[in-house]
C-alpha cells in the first residue's frame, strides 16, 4: 500500500489528475446505459449540491444525469413560523437568543431577520458550539438565554450534550428550542409523496452519526439504490460510479462510499446520547412540506425543564414569503432558476428565502456558481 503523507491524502480527493480519468470512466458507463431519459439522482444534502455545482459535475454529466436537489439544508427547512418564533423570542427584553450562524440572516414574515433585530439593540448571539451558551448564561444571570437549536442528526447530539450539562450544572437561566429534524423521516415522506428518482446520494455526515442501517430500510422500502458519500469531488464521482452500477443492475441496496468517516453502525455514543435526551414529536412544520409526522425531536420529560417551548409556546402560523419557491425547491420539484425572484429580488445580499442564505442552500449554489460573472 502507498505510504502517503496526510496532506497528500487530503489533496487526492480533489486532484484533477485523479478526477479526469474517473470522470471519463463514468461517462463511458453512462453512455452504455442508453436510457430513454436522463437518470434522476437525488442528492439529499445541500453540502453535496454545493460540491456538485462548484466543480461543475452537473454540467460535465448533464447529458446523462439530472441532479434533483434535496431537503438536506437545515437552515432552509426551518418553517417560516419557526423563524417568526425565533424573532419573537429575540424581541423580548429578558432574553438573549443564541443560534448557529446562517439562521440570523433568514427573513421573518415581516421581512426582518435576527441580524436586523440585533442591529436594533436586541441581544442575539451567534455561537460556533452549543456549549458556548453555558458561558453566556453564566455571564448573564439576570437574563434567560435561549439556544435556538437547528440541524439534522449531525448536530442533534451536540444539543443533547448541552442539555445534559445544563442538568448536571443546575443552570436555571439556559433554555433550548429544539428544531432538530430527522433526515430519514423527511426522505421517506418525500418518496411516499411521489418524488421519482433512480438513485440517491445519501448524506455523509448525518450517516457518521446514524450509520448506514436506517438508509437500508428506506432503500428497500422504496426500491431505490443509495450511496452514502463524502464531500470532496472524488467522493461524488465515486458515489455516482457506484450508483450508476446499482441502477443498471436494478439493485436497491445501500453502499457506503465515505468509509473513512462513516461506520456501518454510525457513532453509537452519539446515538445513545440522543436517545437519552430526545424523542420524536408527533408532528413538526417544514418549509415547503407543511406538517410531517414524527419528523423532528422534542425533549423527553426528564429534560422538559429546559424546553423553552414549554414557557414560551410557538404560536405562529405558516406564512411563506410571496413568490419564493424555496419550499418547492426543497421538495425537488423546481430548480432555483425557475423562481421569478431568483437573482433579481432575491440575491445573497437581499435574500427572500433561506435557500439563498444558507451555505447549503440550492439557490445560493446556483447564484454563486452559475450566475456570477
Amino acid at each position: 500500500m502507498k505510504n502517503l503523507k496526510n496532506s497528500e491524502i487530503l489533496t487526492f480527493f480533489s486532484d484533477p489528475k485523479v478526477l479526469q480519468p474517473l470522470l471519463s470512466r463514468l461517462k463511458d458507463k453512462l453512455s452504455g446505459l442508453t436510457p430513454k431519459d436522463r437518470i434522476r439522482i437525488l442528492e439529499f444534502c445541500g453540502g453535496h449540491t454545493h460540491v456538485i455545482l462548484r466543480h461543475g459535475i452537473d454540467e460535465a454529466l448533464g447529458e446523462w444525469i439530472e441532479f434533483v436537489h434535496g431537503p438536506g439544508c437545515p437552515v432552509c427547512v426551518i418553517a417560516q413560523s419557526r423563524i417568526d418564533y425565533a424573532l419573537s423570542l429575540a424581541e423580548r427584553e429578558d432574553v438573549i437568543l443564541a443560534t448557529y450562524g446562517d439562521l440570523i440572516r433568514v427573513p421573518g414574515s415581516n421581512g426582518l431577520c435576527l441580524q436586523q433585530i440585533r442591529a436594533k439593540g436586541k441581544d442575539v448571539r451567534i455561537v460556533d458550539s452549543s456549549l458556548t451558551t453555558i458561558t453566556i448564561a453564566k455571564e448573564n444571570p439576570s437574563k434567560k438565554v435561549i439556544f435556538f437549536a437547528i440541524g439534522f442528526e449531525t448536530t442533534t447530539p451536540h444539543t443533547a450534550f448541552l442539555a445534559k450539562r445544563i442538568k448536571e450544572e443546575g443552570l436555571k437561566n439556559l433554555l433550548i428550542v429544539s428544531n432538530h429534524v430527522i433526515s430519514t423521516e423527511i426522505l421517506d415522506y418525500l418518496l411516499i409523496k411521489g418524488l421519482k428518482v433512480d438513485g440517491i446520494i445519501a448524506p455523509g455526515h448525518v450517516s457518521a452519526i446514524i450509520g448506514a442501517k436506517p438508509w437500508e430500510e428506506l432503500s428497500f422500502k422504496h426500491q431505490t439504490p443509495m450511496v452514502v458519500a463524502g464531500f470532496e469531488p472524488f467522493d461524488i464521482l465515486q458515489a455516482l460510479d457506484h450508483l450508476v452500477y446499482l441502477i443498471k443492475e436494478k439493485n436497491a441496496k445501500v453502499e457506503v462510499q465515505y468509509k473513512r468517516v462513516v461506520k456501518p453502525e454510525g457513532n453509537v455514543a452519539a446515538q445513545r446520547l440522543m436517545e437519552e435526551v430526545f424523542e420524536a414529536r408527533d408532528t413538526f412544520p417544514w418549509r415547503g412540506f407543511g406538517y410531517v409526522p414524527r419528523s423532528a425531536y422534542k425533549f423527553k420529560e426528564a429534560f422538559s425543564f429546559l424546553d423553552a417551548e414549554a414557557i414560551f409556546p410557538c404560536q405562529f402560523e405558516e406564512n411563506t414569503p410571496k413568490g419564493c419557491l424555496c419550499g418547492v425547491i426543497l421538495q425537488g420539484k423546481a430548480k432555483p432558476w425557475e423562481c421569478k425572484l431568483f437573482g433579481r429580488a432575491c440575491t445573497p445580499k437581499t435574500p427572500v428565502g433561506p435557500c439563498m442564505v444558507s451555505n447549503e442552500g440550492a439557490c445560493l449554489a446556483y447564484f454563486k456558481y452559475r450566475m456570477a460573472p
Binding site: 437545515p74 455526515h205 473513512r260
Partner: protein, 74 residues
Amino acid sequence: MCLGYPFKILEVTSPFTALAESKGVKKEIYISLLPEEVKPGDWVLVHVGFAIAKVDEEQALQTINFWDEELEKL
C-alpha cells in the same frame, strides 16, 4: 451545519476537549461525542465545535489505492 471539517489532534487537553488544527487554524474542540479515544496525530471530523467521527486513515488509503489500481486499467 452539515459542513464538517477534518482537524488533526495536537493535544488532548481534558477528558472532554482537545486542541486541534485545520489548515493552520488551531482550535479547542470537544471530543466527548466520540465513541473511541483519540490521541495526538489522529484526524477527526468537526461539526460546530464537536468531533463527531474519527477519520480512518487506513480506509482513506485503501480508497486511494483501490482507485489508483482501477484507473491504471483505463
